[in-house]
């Protein structure tokens, strides 16, 4: 053991590190490229590609690396592919790492909240754009620990290259041990070298994790502590704290910057006038004979619905009555079995000759037709600030410049009462605030129709009003065409021109909101309304 230090500094062993690192780097880089291809194949719509990738994974994950190394080194030359020892080891390691990296990538992609992908699709993002802007940035963050693991394991696995004459650390250690008989000193030395290398990987991993941590204080702020003029910074901190606390207040009390609820219309006659006027407008959405079933379950059963420009239609009905599915079909987020959906006179999802469109073409169609969508679970992009949630899609889908997109985002956030929270991440916003950002995001591209799928169902009761207020203003001030599925009967009565009651995948009753809600003719609807009233009763009694 006395020679431990001698071996630790022996150039012969230290040079072995270079081969170890070289093989590891080749293996990881190749594995990453191959892994991306494999993961893409497995996630693809085409089953042949997926099956091929599966087969590759079974073979290369299921056979020992040492055999793959020998194969790359000794068998490939038989077919004329004679790689250097380092090349063969790098190839074998890459081929072996690829399935593991592919599974990591796949897990990362599948781990992204499905709702965010739906929201991205609804905003007209193509699959490639979704991958680049929404899925990849979030998936990469979650994959870093796994990738650190994989790097350490590849580094250690590179020692197997010793069987094919790569002069890496392990081979050099065993050779040295054979000629000096100084077994333990040498292996302790090379063990320590491996430990230093793997620790290096861990440090890099932690640094990368830190760098990508969304909650991290920006570098400047951290450094500012050491600066002599940090008092200035303290002052601005105080100001921030003040803003933060006022923002917190906002969540609990009725928002200050959202005007108090206006009565929808001064009188019943005004409302009737508005409804009548709307009926003369052009058709914004036309759904005819829409049918859809999952397995044996019929979700939409030959449904017809017409929505005119400027009209607000509330969809009521028990859960499972097909409200959400209908909204998703209008935006073509879901396919249907038969029937037709027209938005602004255009038939969605099909080319002029009736053939189905590709996902990419559907995305472009969504962007150009202009159907905005607001989801029950908000579905904000988790890695982007409130401002970026609104501005990002404007730039990526609609080609707006950064300045224009940011201006539009700020304007919209101001309108939903969140001007001061533009830089907050979704996870730092209350549910009500998130939903308001989601509404701003849906409004940003100036949609011709806004679809709202139970926009307040996931909110705590005290947060419902701030969202309803924003929607109410859109209806009254902006005259926006909207289809809202909701359980808020009173809200529907106040805001909607027309109510449609769905049950079992078709519309049982529809008509002017107030008439229908106060005087339902269909017994199923009457039962539903009284059940909702009964639900409210304790609250009313209190």
């Amino acid at each position: 053991m006395s020679l431990f230090a001698h071996y630790l500094s022996l150039p012969y062993l230290l040079e072995g590190i270079w081969f170890t690192v070289m093989v590891t780097a080749l293996g990881l880089a190749g594995g990453l490229i191959l892994g991306v291809v494999l993961a893409a194949m497995q996630l693809s719509r085409f089953w042949v590609l997926a099956a091929f990738a599966r087969g590759y994974t079974v073979i290369f994950r299921g056979t020992p690396l040492i055999l793959q190394m020998v194969f790359a080194y000794d068998a490939l030359p038989q077919i004329g592919l004679k790689l250097s020892a380092v090349g063969a080891a790098g190839l074998a390691l890459a081929a072996n790492e690829a399935p593991f990296i592919a599974e990591m990538l796949r897990a990362g992609v599948l781990g992204i909240d499905r709702g965010q992908i739906l929201a991205g699709q609804a905003l007209g993002m193509t699959p490639a754009l979704l991958m680049r802007r929404i899925i990849a940035p979030q998936a990469i963050r979650t994959m870093i620990p796994a990738f650190g693991n994989e790097t350490v394991s590849a580094l250690k696995n590179s020692s197997l290259a010793s069987v094919i004459s790569v002069q890496e650390l392990t081979l050099r250690s065993t050779q040295l041990a054979s000629s000096t008989f100084d077994f333990f000193s040498i292996f302790f030395a090379s063990g320590l070298i491996y430990l230093v290398l793997t620790s290096g990987v861990s440090v890099v991993q932690l640094l990368v994790e830190r760098a990508l941590d969304l909650d991290r204080t920006p570098r400047q702020a951290r450094l500012a502590i050491f600066l002599p003029w940090r008092r200035v910074d303290l002052a601005s901190k105080l100001k921030l704290a003040e803003q933060a606390s006022s923002a917190a207040d906002l969540a609990h009390s009725p928002p200050l910057d959202v005007p108090a609820p206006l009565p929808r219309a001064a009188s019943r006659s005004d409302r009737a006038k508005h409804a009548a006027m709307v009926q003369r407008n052009n058709v914004a959405v036309e759904v005819t004979g829409l049918r859809k079933s999952y397995g044996g379950q019929t979700v939409l059963n030959g449904l017809d619905l017409t929505v005119r420009v400027g009209e607000v239609v509330a969809l009521l009905g028990p859960s499972g009555s097909g409200k959400s599915t209908l909204l998703r079909c209008i935006n073509h987020l879901e396919d249907w079995d038969s029937g037709m959906v027209r938005v602004g006179g255009r038939r969605l999802g099909h080319r002029d000759d009736g053939r189905r469109l590709s996902p990419r073409a559907i995305a472009n169609e969504r962007a150009s037709v202009g159907v905005g969508m607001v989801f029950q679970q908000f579905n904000l992009f988790g890695h982007l600030t409130a401002r970026e949630n609104v501005a990002g899609p404007l730039r990526w889908v609609h080609g707006m410049t950064r300045i224009d997109a940011d201006r539009r985002a700020c304007e919209l956030l101001e309108r939903v009462g969140l001007g001061d929270r533009a830089d907050a991440l979704p996870r730092h916003l209350s549910g009500g605030q998130q939903q308001r950002v989601a509404i701003a995001r849906a409004l940003a591209p100036n949609p011709s129709v806004l679809l709202l799928d139970e926009p307040t169902s996931a909110l705590d009761p005290e947060l419902v009003n701030e969202v309803l207020e924003v929607i109410r203003r859109l209806a009254i001030d902006d005259g926006l065409t909207m289809v809202i599925s909701t359980h808020q009967i009173r809200f529907a009565d106040e805001v909607a021109d027309r109510v449609a009651f769905l049950s079992g995948g078709s519309i049982l009753e529809e008509g002017p909101a107030h008439d229908i809600l106060s005087n339902p003719r269909n017994p199923v609807m009457a039962r539903f309304l009284s059940a909702m009233e009964a639900d409210k009763a304790p609250e009313g009694a209190a």
């Binding site: 022996l10 081969f19 000794d74 010793s162 004459s165 065993t174 050779q175 054979s178 000629s179």
Partner: protein
């Protein structure tokens, strides 16, 4: 002659193309010095000039010698300068190269991979204390050059009283290198031990010499049978823990392996070896590496056909 060997050591580098990228300046200088060292063709035996004329195909080439550098005395890295390989086989290979006009670089592989490395074309020649057997001759042609004496390595005091590759090994654990000819010799003892009603010997396979020796030092194995010189070296390194129980003759010869599809190369190596022996260099090398002169053997070809 001795001086010539010492000047030549600078030539014996590891696969230099692969390493050159990272060599530091001092090593590179040493390397250049090695290349530039005056090794005149006249140093080779007289008959070599004629051989180079007869077999010009390898003149001026650099060939790859696959070795399992875990056998001090035959092939191992130089403990003083680990970038070099040294030993009897290394010197012999250099002599053959000098005679035929080629240079050698080295590729270190496990023992079991020596012949696969040769047949896959990753190496041109194998000079690595490998015993020429009929089985192995199916994978390569051999030019034999040395008789084989094996030593039986045991722990100090020979607690199991092993006295050869015989039924004294019944019930013992034998450490061996994967692919060594000693493996079937030990396996052949199984029926004999059974016949005598004794427990069978067990085999532990390792991938290099050092691991086999460690197996005895750690008390995992009772014996390790290998070339007698290797065994002697192990005893010399651990005199108070190991001893040689006995030396035995093995019915094999050590051979240089060359690809089966290059008969001309095989013949040229054989011719060069004959020249080297005629010049007395072979015996000189045995003496230099303190090997038993009885190892000396006139060359022969062993091939499957």
């Amino acid at each position: 002659m001795r001086e010539r060997f010492s000047t030549k050591t600078g030539m014996r580098r590891l696969p230099s193309a692969a390493i050159s990228g990272i060599r530091n300046a001092a090593l590179a200088a040493l390397f250049l010095a090695g290349i530039c060292a005056p090794i005149s063709a006249s140093a080779a035996p007289a008959g070599c000039a004629a051989l180079q004329a007869k077999y010009p195909a390898w003149k001026g080439k650099t060939l790859v010698n696959a070795i399992n550098p875990h056998t001090p005395g035959y092939e191992a890295i130089d403990p003083k300068d680990p970038d070099k390989y040294v030993g009897f086989d290394i010197d012999l290979g250099e002599q053959i190269g000098d005679c035929l006009g080629f240079k050698l670089t080295y590729k270190a592989v496990t023992f079991a991979a020596l012949l696969t490395t040769l047949s896959s074309g990753q190496a041109d020649i194998v000079i690595s204390d490998i015993y020429a057997t009929k089985e192995r001759a199916k994978a390569a042609d051999f030019i034999t050059y040395s008789k084989v004496f094996d030593g039986v390595l045991v722990a100090k005091g020979n607690p199991k009283k092993i006295n050869g590759i015989n039924t004294s090994m019944c019930g013992a654990a034998a450490a061996e290198n994967t692919g060594f000819v000693e493996v079937p010799l030990v396996q052949d003892l199984v029926p004999k031990c059974k016949a005598e009603g004794k427990p069978e010997p067990t085999l532990q396979l390792y991938d290099n010499n050092a691991n086999c020796i460690q197996a005895i030092l750690a008390g995992r194995a009772d014996t390790y049978v290998n070339d007698v010189n290797t065994v002697d070296q192990a005893v010399k390194a651990n005199p108070d823990k190991l001893e040689k129980a006995i030396a035995v003759t093995i019915p094999y010869s050590v051979g240089i392996a060359v690809p089966k599809d290059k008969p001309e190369f095989r013949d040229s190596v054989l011719a060069a070896l004959i020249e080297i022996q005629k010049a007395g260099i072979h015996k000189e090398l045995l003496k230099k590496w303190e090997l038993d002169p009885n190892n000396f053997k006139e060359p022969d070809i062993l091939s499957a056909d």
